[in-house]
Symmetry: C2
Subunit: 310 residues, 2 copies
Amino acid sequence: MTKNEKGEAFVIQALTAGHPLPAWVKTGPGDDAAILEDGQVLTTDMMVQGVHFDESISPEALAWKLLAINTSDVAACGAHATWAMLSIALPEPLDQAWTERFSKAFKRRLLALNIALVGGDTTRSSGPLILNLCVAGKLEGPALLRSGASPNEDIWVSGVLGDASGGFHLNAPILRERFEQPHPPLALGPALATAQLATAAMDLSDGLLQDLERLCTASNCGGDIDPTKLPASDELLKATESPLRHQVAFGEDYQLLFTGKKAHRDAITSLGEQLGLRLTRIGKTTKLLGLRIPGCDTMQVWTHFQERTK
Amino acid sequence: MTKNEKGEAFVIQALTAGHPLPAWVKTGPGDDAAILEDGQVLTTDMMVQGVHFDESISPEALAWKLLAINTSDVAACGAHATWAMLSIALPEPLDQAWTERFSKAFKRRLLALNIALVGGDTTRSSGPLILNLCVAGKLEGPALLRSGASPNEDIWVSGVLGDASGGFHLNAPILRERFEQPHPPLALGPALATAQLATAAMDLSDGLLQDLERLCTASNCGGDIDPTKLPASDELLKATESPLRHQVAFGEDYQLLFTGKKAHRDAITSLGEQLGLRLTRIGKTTKLLGLRIPGCDTMQVWTHFQERTK
């Protein structure tokens, strides 16, 4: 764990230890989102200027990303997002042009995602620009959890890995755009859940190394990854001769990581074709705990955005 | 409107104009909380160090206040709070002792309020300490809105007014405690809603002048207040010879402002006795728009915490 992760884990532990949850909370803190008995899926993310983004980001990209990271969590649990609440603290003096551009882009994206902005809070900030979004979704089938995998299942990912990392670290405008405006495969989680084709799932926000470890830990199994199978975009391969560290660390791709039974390989492949999504088998779960990804020196790549921009 | 309120109104307008809400959103931005078709009541509040509180506040008082202001909004709509999500951005280096004290107080208060912390987000801050809480509640009867009052009804308030202002402005430790740890009458809103005794309601977060104007505007009526009827605590009366400005401006008392039909006076009074709450008739609604509160020079008292600590 990085220093920040240790800090985060400490705070989460302090806030949740000894706070028993009622039976109507099916999944509490620890998965991508909370899941209630009535099928409601809930998530929240805070973005702070100077930590999660810097001044170079456009208001349009920020609006996009705020919605992407939250809807990705909801979709990774198998739900479609329905409503959102936005809190925003703006530095003074109020930048009206910025606010108008952000609002316009945010509303446009809400409309495209069919999400209702039901409430929020606006205030001024004594320092950085701060955004917090809560997004709720509704399950139509069973929930997808991190904890459902068993040994000897296939490990899959959607899309390509490493574009966000490439966009942040390399000089490649098209990758930069993918870093700033990620496209989580929002239809995939609900479709996998409804068809009962995935045993476990989570979105790739912190990179395959960290996120697969979380999924495996929650499922009490290990993971064996074939690095030559990891999907990469042509643009990433053009921009670097060493794509692997981008594909496994850093994160921010918001692709879906999931596991499925071998018997469901064809069904999963054809679901991907139906949805127009690239789905790739990258390895398998194992009885032996821990991750095996040949070629990954975890100590070297074990960083992510929050550390790097410190 | 103060400069901040104009800024807030601009941002809210930018974020909501032209964003149509689906029919299942019964009340969107503009009331104390959002109300959905399924009876869910939703609110969120962000608190930023240097804007909403300063370093002198204890972690215990901050935890209390964050829950008080959000549960007050939910209760003002007639609902009991059920779940919450907390986002927290902590300055570095992480103050473990502070975090433990905050978490302990927060969990203790969640337990007392019977609220489940279902999720959240923890991150570091590049500047101030930042907290955001979302709280949801469930209606058991009809919702209480700001917009339900008609002319010639009674205007009521719960508790006493001005203690929070006194606590902030005057040298009186007992009032300071009430400012830092407000006690919204959380049982009152749901009880009034279930018994259908209130025509409109909202919580007093910004002071009677501002909040009554909002209620009257939403209800398309005016308000006539008898300043001699405004309830004050003995402690406020001891601390100042001019309690009126504390009672009508500043806010932060989180008492309930509501309207009721004259025929329900006795029933409201006896409900207050049952709940152990002081309820006071302070005036009436009028057909003539605008507020009349003799003795209030609104230009002088029209300030609140966010302006004062600037």
